[in-house]
Amino acid sequence: MNVHLTQKISYHLLRVITYAIVISVGYILFDIIRHGLPVISWDFLTGFPRRSGSEGGILPAILGTIYLTLVTIAVALPLGVGCAIYLSEYAEQNRFSELVRLAIITLAGVPSIVYGLFGLGLFVIFCRFGASILAGSLTLACMVLPIIIVASEEALRAVPRGFREASLALGATKWQTIRTNVLPYSISGMITGSILAIGRAAGETAPILLTVAAFFLPKLPGSIFDQVMALPYHLYILATQHPETEKVLPLQYGTALVLLLLVLGMNIGAVIVRIHFRKKYKW
């Protein structure tokens, strides 16, 4: 067969398959938006669930997810940024820094349910936090740590060497240099990393399954030692454990859409932050 014809047919085949993947992603989003959008109303977003989740809104689940992600970030951000500064500014090629990198790679690959077991063993039982916001957030913080470290380190490394050399040449110490001439220009990476981490923490179910989530709590938590409802867990329960899963299908779609918008919104936000700062600083 003609070489050009073969090539043309092959390229078309590749294109068809690639677009089939894109269309299936699009269809998932379309299906959830189409069925979820009619359910979302002010009452749904700000109401409490009634009759063990068969009616009413999802406010406690939304707030629960927000509390969890906020505590998670409060813990993971300083640790992640600190680790990134060490790796980019201080680390020499030695055993210790290699071990840190190996640890980060390992953390990134640990399955989420194993984080759940770990959180149960360490935070819930050993530290006696019980099933609580604190235990769940600490578990999630361990999980999102690599995301923050990778994004922050990338941003720190993007700051030109000359910035550091100029400052050091003027007599500033290493930390003064980092604080005044490196950190301000790498803030974008830290924001990007944190937003991605929030998105990941908000969407995960398996780690909170064993460490914090409550199916039905008609009141809001009073402290970080309380249990909370969370969006992903609420969706899981409504879809699989509820006595009348068919009947609450609209509520499932509504919850799925809120969760999806929250997580995708975070990811899109991260992209926007990255583009904005890339435009602002050009060197």
């Binding site: 070489v3 050009h4 090539q7 390229y11 590749l14 294109r15 398959i17 690639t18 993947i21 894109v22 299936s24 992603v25 699009g26 998932i28 640790l79 600190g82 680790c83 060490y86 201080y90 680390a91 210790f96 071990l99 840190v100 790679i105 390992t106 953390l107 690959g109 640990v110 399955p111 989420s112 349910i113 194993v114 077991l117 770990f118 149960l120 063993g121 360490l122 361990c142 110490t173 290493k174 930390w175 980092i178 998105g199 990941r200 908000a202 969407g203 995960e204 398996a206 399954l209 992903p232 899981y236 879809a239 699989t240 499932q252 799925a256 969760l259 999806l260 997580v263 990811n267 992209v271």
Partner: protein, 288 residues
């Protein structure tokens, strides 16, 4: 200068925390699981029946769960590998640059959809579809789970394979074209073979993601702990077993400890896959 020394120490200690967490994960999984090794003994795990709650004799054999995880992973990879390699080749070698800029983020969206949302989609859309196509009484089986997992592995494999393809030196392709090979021949005989280590690493990372995935398989695999290699049977994976049963076991019971052993098996499997794939990427200079 004192501030400097202090900050240096502080940063080194924050960096050590990631090592500490890894150590604690191994330690606490081991701590909760260990008593099982003394009583009733590790031999109990190597058994073909998982019946952790029983009036007669409890059985803690993890074979059916390992078989379940293996079956869905295998099926998911059979679907996902060809699709994602084709996708990566198209995006990296064939697509126009504008097209590429649109396709890449779109496929990455897939990576950010929470697994419980995909599981929900599988439950309400995919499972009924599978049920009707094959005329089954329930669509909750290994195939449905594998389809979802294939979808979840796609962005991992595509993104990393695409990086590997893009990192093949331009001179390789130019040499091939100069010798009279067509673009298509160059892609399949030069570019893809040169990027193969990276593609293999991508597949390993994809497998790691699939083995560790919990919520989606929990929701659509049907959860029967049987040893079967038939795709339309309901199966139960290691991850789903932990998620489904941990909430109801008495603390410190043999059942509880057995679930931690399953966690250890999962941890080691993903750890090995993860490290191997990073070594491959590093060796061939394809690390991100």
């Amino acid at each position: 200068m004192r501030m400097d020394k202090f900050m240096r120490l502080l940063l080194i200690s924050t960096a050590s925390i990631s090592i500490l967490i890894v150590a604690l994960i191994f330690l606490f999984l081991g701590k909760e699981a260990f008593p099982f090794a003394l009583e009733p003994g590790l031999g109990k795990l190597f058994d073909s029946r998982w019946v952790p709650v029983s009036f007669q004799e409890e059985r803690y054999g993890i074979y059916p769960l390992v078989a379940g995880s293996s079956l869905v992973t295998l099926l998911a990879m059979l679907i996902s590998i060809p699709l994602s390699i084709i996708g990566a080749i198209y995006i990296s070698e064939v697509a126009q640059s504008i097209e590429r800029e649109i396709l890449k983020p779109f496929i990455e969206i897939l990576a950010s959809i929470p697994s419980v949302v995909l599981g929900f989609f599988g439950l309400v859309v995919l499972a009924p579809l599978v049920k009707n196509i094959f005329g089954l009484s329930s669509g909750l089986n290994a195939l449905t789970a594998a389809l979802l997992l294939a979808l979840m592995a796609l962005p991992t494999i595509i993104t990393i394979s695409e990086d590997a393809l893009a990192s093949v030196p331009q001179s390789f392709k130019q040499a091939s074209l100069a010798l009279g090979a067509s673009e298509l021949q160059t892609i399949f005989k030069v570019t893809v073979p040169a990027a193969l280590p990276g593609i293999i690493a991508a597949i390993m990372l994809g497998i790691g993601r699939v083995i560790g995935e919990t919520m989606a398989v929990l929701m659509v695999s049907g959860n029967s702990a049987i040893i079967s290699f038939y795709p339309l049977d309901s199966i139960r994976t290691m991850t789903a077993t932990i998620a489904a049963e941990m909430g109801e076991v008495p603390f410190g019971s043999h059942h509880y400890q057995a679930l931690f052993w399953i966690g250890i098996v999962l941890l080691f499997a993903t750890f090995v896959l993860n490290i191997l794939s990073r070594l491959v990427l590093k060796k061939y200079g394809m690390a991100q």
